[in-house]
């Protein structure tokens, strides 16, 4: 069976994602004063956050799925034509939505509606593709749960956008909490966990590992998501704390599996981008632990929770994606450019297509910038915040350039 996808489709999503990443960091740089004062609910931050999470993280995740689902699930994409239609609708929808959130939030619902059509087409496409898979495994269930979470996230998101213009609901905060939890922990985390079960063994050449915790991790995480959401809606703080505990347990069990995979790896020296994605797993475990402890000790300061969410987004979701992209893009380009030349002429290895030294410098820059932003906010130093957000912006431009550089490799 042919297990590859037309590379233009995933690459289209990823290239738009890189542009959105730079725009998002630029907007956050422009709105640094809102960050410093902890005003996360301001138009500039809404716009930057949605360029980052929808424009970059979601688009890259979609592109990666168009590439990875056929190879990991051994099933072909249901319709490539639908994929291209979905790509353009989603690009138009996200761009309009994120811009409107920044300049005219009362009209953001119109951009959101177009973006939702794009996401619904994606859900339909992936549903049809994955359900064709003959033998389902734990990875399938993680990905299906992630897609279900995405559907819930956009439903809640549409209600929020509608509420911004029509003020139709009084329970805005519960809808917002559901939107954030299912978007971050449901969609992104379950998706990254699911694909990590494939990508980490593949890139570390691990052999003889068991994945024995995967089922327990899945059940604990899903139960945590549901219990936490129900508890938020019925205002039950103990339920929320147990929900955080279940989410922590689920993530901890997944981490145990990753440790076993790494212990049984054959490739002792891991590539630097993979090490960066693995660092993100450690940070996510720490954030899950913090969330549980904050809930246990009934810390309700919104500033603390907002920055915890920021760390979760940047150091788990974004860092994971930044690391994996350094593996995914060379693979895509290698397949496009060299796969029919292997055996005929000398072709580069994927490692030769990436400037690993530059990737290490960029990863250090991202970590330092993020820590600097947190320290600046803690010390209430506006100049320091501007400096580190500026560094993050420069890092994002250089990162996008380094990924695009891979696409310029024409021969060994």
């Amino acid at each position: 069976m042919k297990s590859s996808t037309d590379i233009k489709l995933p690459l289209g999503f990823i290239l738009f994602g890189l542009i959105a990443f730079v725009i998002a960091q630029g907007i956050l740089l422009y709105g640094y004063s809102f960050l410093e004062s902890g005003q996360f609910r301001s138009p500039a931050i809404w716009s930057g956050a949605h360029f980052l999470l929808l424009g970059f993280a979601m688009m890259v995740a979609m592109g990666a799925m168009y590439q990875l689902v056929p190879v990991a699930f051994l099933t072909e994409i249901w319709s490539h034509k639908l994929g291209y239609i979905q790509l353009w609708i989603t690009i138009i929808g996200i761009t309009c939505f994120a811009i409107l959130l920044g300049v005219a939030p009362q009209f953001a619902v119109y951009g959101a509606a177009v973006a939702i059509v794009g996401v619904l087409l994606f859900l339909f496409q992936m549903g049809c593709t994955i359900l064709k898979q003959k033998q389902k495994n734990m990875m399938t269930y993680f990905v299906l749960a992630a897609l279900t979470s995405l559907a819930l996230t956009i439903s809640a998101g549409l209600l929020l956008a509608w509420n911004l213009s029509a003020h139709a609901f009084s329970n805005h905060n519960q809808i917002l909490s559901t939107h954030i939890l299912f978007g971050l922990a449901g969609w992104f985390t379950l998706l990254i966990i699911g694909f990590s079960y494939k990508l980490v063994p593949m890139f570390s050449l691990s052999h003889g590992f068991s994945m024995k915790m995967a089922k327990k991790a899945f059940i604990a995480y899903i139960c945590g998501l549901m219990l936490w959401t129900i508890s938020v809606w019925i205002h039950h703080s103990v339920g929320q704390t147990i929900g955080w505990l279940l989410l922590l347990m689920g993530f901890f069990l997944f981490t145990l599996d990753i440790l076993e995979i790494l212990k049984k790896r054959i490739r002792k020296q891991l590539d630097k981008p993979l090490q960066f994605s693995l660092l993100a797993i450690g940070i996510a475990l720490a954030v899950h632990t913090c969330a549980f402890l904050l809930s246990l000790f009934q810390v309700t300061d919104m500033m603390i929770w907002s920055w915890l969410i920021y760390v979760y987004v940047m150091a788990w979701i974004i860092f994971s994606i930044l690391g994996y992209l350094y593996k995914i893009v060379p693979f895509l380009w290698w397949t496009h450019r060299f796969s029919d030349k292997i055996g005929k002429e000398k072709v580069p290895t994927m490692k030769e297509m990436v400037n690993e030294k530059r990737s290490v410098q960029l990863f250090i820059l991202f970590v330092v910038s993020m820590i600097g932003i947190l320290v600046a906010v803690w010390l209430q130093q506006v100049a320091l915040l501007l400096l580190f957000q500026g560094l993050l912006f420069i890092g994002s431009v250089l990162y996008a350039a380094s990924i695009i550089h891979v696409l310029r490799v024409k021969s060994s």
């Binding site: 297990s3 190879v71 593949m202 054959i266 397949t335 796969s339 292997i342 072709v347 580069p348």
Partner: protein
Amino acid sequence: MSLKEKVRSALYEVIDPELGINIVDLGLVYDVEIEESHVTITMTLTTPGCPMHDSITAGVEHRIQQIEDVQKVTVHLVWEPAWTPLNMSDQAKQMLGFG
């Protein structure tokens, strides 16, 4: 050099692009059969669902087709017996820092 030896030697030039190691040292080649000018190669990959599935098997075909006296190449990709690290040569193990 016999045709079988030429084929074996040529397979050393097919490199796994992710690992940067040739497929013979990785222990992916299980058998080479020659029937006049028809070469049949039985091989595996390190994992089912390997993204390099099509590229590596096509690479084997391309490289063997280049050998004089070869008219036809058939690549059988099998998953049984499954690949294990024990299949690797000492050189491959050393390159990966394994063992």
